[in-house]
Symmetry: C2
Subunit: 189 residues, 2 copies
Amino acid sequence: MKNIEERILRDGQVIDNDILKVDSFLNHQVDIAFLQEFAQGVRKALPDVRVDKVLTIETSGIAVAYALCEAFGCPSLVFAKKSKSKTVGDDVFKTQIHSFTRGFSCEVTVSNKYLREGENVLIADDFLALGNASLGLLDLCAQAGAHPVAVAVVIEKLFQGGRERIEAKGVPVFSGAGVKAFVDGKPAF
Amino acid sequence: MKNIEERILRDGQVIDNDILKVDSFLNHQVDIAFLQEFAQGVRKALPDVRVDKVLTIETSGIAVAYALCEAFGCPSLVFAKKSKSKTVGDDVFKTQIHSFTRGFSCEVTVSNKYLREGENVLIADDFLALGNASLGLLDLCAQAGAHPVAVAVVIEKLFQGGRERIEAKGVPVFSGAGVKAFVDGKPAF
């Protein structure tokens, strides 16, 4: 989507020619209209798909998932949890996810009550890089017997192979902007 | 709000006569229409207030904050971060918050670029108990010179004193439902 690329060029910041910092509009401060526009773009790409649930992982995916719920008329979002709180029970699906930005692996869980056999699930996140988070969420869907209709991410790093790993599982990927490379501290689309 | 009380009675679960588990509609699976209705209720209570930013803390407050942004026509939400990622710089406001549900304290930060002097800030969260999270966010507002217009939470535990601590700072509190006590494993309103 042209507008997303322009926004990244205007407000994004490349750190160490490696990390794209977009916390002014995506994952610290969140621009609501920007996410609504992204979500409408995904809806346009998948006009006839019924989405029963939008699945993401805390934290940065939650606002993205909310926008997608609204665009798809989907009643609820579910966010997989990274740490065990007192209110999470034992009846959960679990998977291991390695976070590229944070530099460590963690177990993420979803209650087996909130991901059900036969549900159409749209997987959402802010970024797609190696694809570890999305593959973990796909694993949770597989455990539940839910049907992943697509992975939708705002920004994709095309050079890190996440898309190929997800498509190899038969799941389409939609991204608002695909970064081909970082050239002289700027993203190239 | 009557509907919120009814939803809590129907779908909430009280654990150890102490913790109210509402993860089927609020903080694990999130019911979008429920949050929209809550947010409209807050808007009705504050009809003439301009909100420049909705401020919350990751994780469970993000969807609540998103709904409030839409209800108030507020362009952006900001979520304070609990852990330091590679993309957070040093130019931050910091405060310590003790989490009742998780049982430990952590430092939370907001970039000083996303909370500004003179901004009208609505503070949002899923729960208000002792008020530690909200007081931490109020502290961040004070550091920024921002003006907190209100604290809006979906569920308030009236017997834990959070409201009094916030009102003592001159900030009004709005909650969707106020739990007076847990009686025989049920919330009483």
